[in-house]
Symmetry: C2
């Protein structure tokens, strides 16, 4: 059994992760860009809007013709036409005239403001009475009010949201430069591991990590690619890892839980081209037997075999690595929605490592209780029953019941919303 000679602290591991580069750039259509990271600034190629637009239904006028108008002393206008949507009005407005306009319509030449329909009263087809004065530019947006031609709309590194894609479309930009979504190869290993659809014999277990990691990668915005399930043998594993490196931007080897598997992983990856072993063990629990290396520019990760340990390592370190490869430049350590809660009971912790305790969140009056889910780390039920993780710092011997803690909530599309709202009225 190889020892973990090179056990690193979590902060050291974060620095190593931040040394990886985004996997590459590409140009995608707006429909494919949600959640991706801009790889270049976006500049407005023209003014938005491009013309004077009404933001109300009403009548376009010259504001000064309305000055002094009120309910007891209305102003009168000659109605000379209507602005058609999508067309530049051909008429030019003269003093004392008004032109009917809808929200979004283009102001005719001569007009500088719009009176809302609520203050307008048609006396006959051609005569309009208005009961309120407007000031120049009232109810009107001007060319460039949203963005002026040449201005920077989004900076490189921005993460694209629905409204951002809408604006980009509004500017007439149908394709957008982004960092590529990283492709992540997943390999399961272990002589005792069998596929999900196989009957297990005594001593065998099904491949849990394949599915946990596949979903984790998707959730983090990467493309998972399952390469295969490999016995604990050098040659087939080496072949599989080599193939994975060719096809993907990063390789995840999810070990069986035995020492044999872990030693084998190290032996195999040490033979990869331009390989450098960066981390061999991290001072956290669960998750200590984690391996991080690089083959050229591509990360090669050996995860602990226990499903629980593998997912905790994924939550803490892999999520950050995936964001790094995705071009995200927000490199803070914590990447989870944090929920403040009171600890439900005392927890002891060994010194010299960070402990990640699985907790269930329970509402209690206006606050939330974080109730530890105890159980041996080999049990995946501890993760399934948990809503998030509580970190116990390296130099802390434990936490007490009722201590205020920050729970790193597991994210899931709806899950976030649920936990953060129904249960999680902040204390």
């Amino acid at each position: 059994m190889e020892s973990f000679f090179n056990v690193k602290k979590p902060d050291e591991v974060f620095s190593i992760i931040d040394g990886f580069e985004p996997v590459g750039k590409e140009t995608v259509s707006l429909e494919d860009a949600l959640g991706l990271v801009l790889s270049a600034d976006i500049t407005a190629p023209e003014d938005l809007p491009a013309f004077f637009r009404s933001v109300m239904d009403g009548y376009a006028i010259m504001a000064r013709d309305s000055f002094g108008a009120n309910e007891s002393l209305p102003a009168f206008f000659e109605v000379t036409g209507e602005v058609l949507m999508g067309e530049a009005p051909s008429v030019v407005l003269e003093r004392g005239q008004a032109i009917n306009i809808s929200t979004g319509g283009m102001l005719p030449k001569g007009a500088d403001s719009v009176v809302m329909v609520e203050y307008c009263h048609l006396l006959d087809d051609a005569t309009l009475e208005i009961s309120r004065a407007v000031s120049p530019l009232e109810n009107v947006i001007q060319p460039g009010d949203d963005f002026k031609e040449g201005s920077v709309v989004f900076k490189k590194g921005h993460i694209l949201r629905p409204q951002d894609l809408g604006l980009t479309a509004g500017l007439g930009i149908p394709e957008i430069p982004v960092y590529k979504r990283p492709k992540i190869a997943i390999i399961s290993t272990g002589d005792e591991v069998v596929p999900v659809n196989r009957r297990t014999r005594p001593g065998q277990v099904r491949d849990i990590n394949r599915y946990t990691l596949d979903a984790f990668c998707r959730q983090a915005g990467a493309k998972p690619l399952f390469i295969g399930l490999c016995p604990d043998e050098f040659k087939p594993l080496k072949e599989m890892v080599t193939r994975a490196l060719e096809q993907a931007d990063m390789v995840l080897i999810s070990g069986g839980s035995s020492v044999g598997t872990r030693d084998l992983t190290i032996k195999v990856i040490n033979e990869l081209p331009e390989f450098q072993l960066l981390v061999h063990g991290i001072s956290i629990s669960p998750g200590k037997p984690t391996i991080i290396g690089r083959s050229g520019k591509k990360p090669v990760i050996g995860l602990p075999g226990h499903a629980t340990s593998a997912l905790v390592v994924a939550e803490i370190f892999l999520s950050r690595l995936i964001r790094r490869l995705s071009g995200c430049n927000y490199l803070q350590k914590r990447i989870h929605p944090l929920i403040k809660a009171r600890l439900g009971q005392n927890i002891e912790s060994a010194g010299g490592r960070e402990d990640y305790i699985r907790v269930r969140l329970l509402p209690k009056g206006k606050s939330i209780i974080a109730e530890p889910v105890f159980g041996k780390s080999g049990l995946i039920s501890t993760l399934v029953e948990a809503d998030g993780l509580v970190k116990i710092d390296m130099n802390t011997e434990g936490l007490y019941k009722d201590d205020l803690v920050e729970v790193m909530a597991f994210s899931s599309r709806y899950g976030d919303m649920y936990y953060l709202n129904e249960k999680a009225v902040q204390t």
Copy 2:
């Protein structure tokens, strides 16, 4: 111009939304199930784990043979073999014997505990000295420790996370019953609206809502389906809406901003089969001119034309409707990550409606400032510059600078993480 005779309060609209049913059920493979909602309970078809498993590397023994052992008085054992990963050990352990076992290995008959390798010292090939006593079942997980055969693992309505899919795989269940992802048809209307790749003439604007709504639906877990861009004419719009209803579970008609478009939408949808108009105007700003109806079981929504109004309505109401159609049974009103912040300046609000103010989040020492983004609602830049929304209740005349507010943060895969952590140290 049709008036909004039927303006409803937001709470009334939520009740109407909750009256819609999930769009249907299907069975999907584990790779396709992330974020979907279970449509039936999942029961464990067998014990997990299925056998006594070691959770440590070490030696399997009978615990009572170790009682009293310590560093100064070690216990001695005869080593009779090794457990191979993935196989049921053929040997039976007798008193005084020890068998080498790895993490995840199956305990041989006769053994009831595992001594960690750290407390074991091999004196020769067949003689083991241990320096610490273990109790029965120490370092061992028993059959059913995760889940017992027949127990309910997940209840109907559960939203599937990575660890949940892993556990399901562990139980040998390759496919899983879920509610279908709703398919949402999107139609853009307005004589002034042109596609993104078209040069605009004066008076024309590009189709922003198509992209905003497409991305919004994806983010909320639905499948968007763009039907087309339609001029403000009865016959083509009716044909398009009819086609949309055939192909999708819900229809979104995003109006141009003019009155003409809004009136037309009402006329068209009133002729749909089994049509019922449920909401014609909501007392919120922005977003008042929203239409909600149903054609049979399918929602038909008319959104305001302004991109900003349309997206605010989507954030507040559409997200809840999509969750409802997705089978989610968490029907709370608020569906956003909430961030506590101090308001950056006074905001006035008209009575009789809920106001949704766009705000930017700025860190300030240990707290966060929510700085209002002002601008006419026709400007999409107000949404692009914002990080979330602050609601001003119907019966409030406004909020004061430094008031503590809850910001409904816009969600985006990375965005959540970013806002909730780097900026958002809770006050």
